[in-house]
């Protein structure tokens, strides 16, 4: 597990020594991978990697302990060399820091301090992607930050290039189109980490699976009995979770393109779905005021209660923390260990001078994975960025980005450099208001100051 991280770092480092050692390392990585790939909760954090029995040992008389020692020593040496090459005079003990980060990330409790370095973007830098005819509802960003897929109320899905800001492909939809497409609003999108599958769920109760590279249709999942409100593909795997307005959450397997199981529990329509690396997904229940984390393996669910209104959106920050927004205007920060939220921000998007009849529902929340940066969107014309103080104890506002319209979805790119917002004239679920000044665009907002992550 620790070795995996090493390989990623190596690509960035590009030192001669690193390249030489790489081929040997990769074999051992696979071995360690086999041992540690179980999905059970990681209560203890293991710095020392487990040794596989069938690995190729250089000295067969060596005991397991001695082998562990040897391997860890090698790893530490390599880390040192990398860090020394990239290090400045000020920073010390980079190896220790790196190891600590790796451990926390595996445990799911990592929080990189990024928010402090973020700066509000200048006016001219925000790029706009125009193409959808009606409100843009949902989106999915590729893990390398180059491709973007957006779905909208005109039942179409558009593939964009984030470097050139141009449309690459349109998967049209609607009642007048022949062939396989969405016949209702596209409510949610999800991309797998290896860019092999794109899942889209809509009001027509269907989940379509597409090939993101060629945009061809692969399969349709027909199990749901009402609109599919949220889809999420578990990171580094081919497991699909879908939440729907029929109060069920379904698990699907993308390798076999088959339905696996249904999870019951929500008392009202499930509004959104999100997942990270673990075999769990978090869904929000709308008016039943609950957020549920579904443990697939144990066939159980964890119940969290909060918010006085309908809970519309939730995202996982790391494996242990999550953020949620509801239509009473409040944003809550949760920990998996507590049944009540840790921090609540009431009226997160209140504007001075606007009458109370114009309620500011929190329609989208986003978090930069494993960090302390959070973004929330409503219809007040601003995307607000927040910072988690301490170890997820409090939410403090950072700055606002002016974006007019209903902000139906927000996502950060994995490197934390860009914040992408799907904006429309109407709320994603209905037409309570129609803002005529707003446009149905996708805004790509650079968040300056994240030069550390490349």
């Amino acid at each position: 597990m620790v070795m995996l991280r090493n390989s990623r770092k190596r690509e960035r480092g590009q030192s001669k020594k690193a390249f030489k050692v790489k081929p040997k390392r990769s074999k051992k990585e696979e071995d360690f991978d086999e041992v540690v790939s179980s999905d059970s909760e990681l209560d203890g954090t293991e710095i020392v990697p487990k040794v596989a029995e069938q690995s190729d040992s250089e000295d067969e008389n060596e005991t397991a302990q001695e082998k562990k020692m040897r391997l860890t020593k090698k790893y530490l040496e390599e880390l040192k060399t990398i860090k020394e090459q990239n290090a400045t005079d000020d920073e010390k003990d980079l190896v220790g820091e790196q190891l600590q980060e790796d451990v926390l990330e595996k445990a799911g409790r990592l929080q990189k301090k990024i928010a402090a370095k973020c700066l509000p973007p200048d006016e001219g830098i925000i790029k706009v992607l125009k193409g959808h005819k009606l409100s843009v509802i949902c989106m999915a960003v590729s893990s390398d930050g180059l491709l973007l897929f957006t779905g909208s109320k005109d039942c179409s899905i558009i593939k964009w290039d984030l470097k050139t800001h141009k449309k690459l492909h349109v998967m049209k939809g609607g009642s007048k189109i022949d062939g396989v497409c969405h016949r209702g609003h596209v409510l949610c999108l999800a991309l797998s980490t290896d860019m092999k599958f794109l899942a889209s769920g809509g009001r027509d109760k269907l989940i379509h699976i597409w090939n993101p590279n060629t945009c061809e249709h692969l399969h349709t999942f027909k199990g749901h009995r009402n609109a599919v409100s949220g889809v999420s593909i578990r990171a580094n795997s081919h497991q699909l979770f879908s939440s729907s307005h029929d109060r069920t959450v379904k698990v699907w397997d993308l390798d076999a393109l088959a339905y696996v199981e249904t999870l019951y529990g929500h008392q009202d329509a499930a509004q959104s779905c999100d997942s990270l690396n673990r075999e769990r997904c978090v869904t929000t229940g709308g008016r039943d005021g609950s957020i549920r984390i579904w443990k697939i393996v144990e066939e159980s669910q964890l119940l969290f209660h909060g918010h006085s209104g309908s809970i519309d959106c939730a995202r996982l920050i790391n494996e242990e923390h999550m953020i949620s927004g509801s239509d009473d205007g409040s944003v809550c920060l949760w920990s998996v260990m507590k049944k009540r939220p840790i921090a609540v921000v009431q009226q997160a998007h209140r504007l001075e001078g606007v009458p109370k009849s114009r309620e500011m529902w929190i329609s989208a929340v986003a978090s930069l994975t494993n960090s302390d940066l959070i973004a929330t969107g409503s219809s007040d014309g601003y995307i607000r960025l927040w910072k988690c103080e301490g170890k997820f104890l409090k939410l403090t506002p950072l700055f606002n980005v002016s974006v007019p319209g209903f902000i139906n979805d927000i996502r950060f790119t994995n490197n934390g450099l860009f914040l992408i917002a799907a904006v429309g004239q109407e709320h994603k679920l209905g037409r309570w208001w129609k803002l005529k000044d707003a446009k149905n665009f996708v805004y790509v907002i650079p968040i300056q100051g994240n030069a550390e992550n490349k």
């Binding site: 529990g265 998996v336 507590k338 049944k339």
Partner: protein
């Protein structure tokens, strides 16, 4: 099972995986009841119906029914370490469809005619007492109507007003006669009660005809007082009497007075 869909399009990848697995399994005879091997399509249909997880469980188990499988997996109650932790529940229990999420108040409509809270059964005395002010209003209305009648030139309207006036008058008279009757009854009952209390005699109730006669007498007295007693009334009585006496046998005629 809630899964009704059966898929017709099977990708090549699908076939490759499942055929390999199935060949292995069919050879080792792990399928429940059939002697002959299930066809590939049947296997895939079963998998679609039941779900990938259960399908694998069926394959793994030796000759057990799906129902038995369910029975053999009782879910023990989940325990949490302290009460601040979120509650853990099983995710396989279906929620009640008709369960209300947002509590709504259903107002119960009440019919005041049949509701005990809206007063007891109709009692005329109490009604008259509490609504006696209406009589004054009615009098005033009659006065205004008379004025209108006097003023108006239109014949049709005059007839209408007349009609209304007559109606009101008659209603008034009927009310008054009812009241007199009641008051008479009350006075009679009082007298009888007094006599009974004093111990003089047993209670005696007058017949309806007797009550009528008494009422007539009182009316006559009143009319005499006011001076509006008409000869016609006396003649009416005479006429009725003579008619009745005609129907009676001779012997009884002289006796009645």
């Amino acid at each position: 099972m809630e899964e009704d869909s059966s898929e017709s399009d099977i990708s090549d990848q699908d076939e490759a995986i499942s055929s390999d697995e199935l060949e292995q399994e069919s050879s080792s005879r792990l399928w429940p009841s059939t002697d002959s091997n299930m066809t590939l399509e049947q296997m895939i249909q079963l998998r679609e119906q039941v779900g990938l997880k259960k399908f694998k469980a069926i394959k793994a188990s030796t000759g057990m029914n799906t129902q038995e499988n369910n029975k053999n997996e009782p879910k023990s109650g989940f325990k949490r370490k302290n009460k601040n932790r979120p509650q853990e529940i099983s995710s396989k229990i279906r929620a009640n469809k008709l369960q209300k999420v947002v509590p709504t108040k259903q107002s119960n409509a009440r019919d005041p005619r049949f509701d005990n809270l809206c007063g007891s059964e109709f009692q005329e005395e109490i009604f008259n007492k509490s609504f006696s002010f209406l009589n004054n209003i009615r009098e005033r209305e009659m006065q205004t109507l008379r004025k209108q009648l006097h003023k108006s030139r239109d014949e049709s309207q005059k007839t209408k007003i007349k009609y209304l006036l007559d109606r009101m008058k008659q209603q008034d008279e009927a009310r008054k006669s009812r009241e007199e009757k009641r008051s008479l009854e009350r006075s009679l009952k009082k007298k009888e009660r007094l006599k009974v209390e004093l111990g003089i005699k047993r209670p005696y109730f007058l017949k309806n005809s007797e009550k009528k006669e008494l009422l007539k007498k009182i009316k006559n007295e009143q009319l005499e007082k006011s001076g509006s007693l008409r000869k016609a009334d006396g003649r009416k009585d005479k006429k009725l009497k003579s008619k009745e006496s005609k129907l009676m046998p001779h012997s009884r005629r002289l006796i009645t007075d």
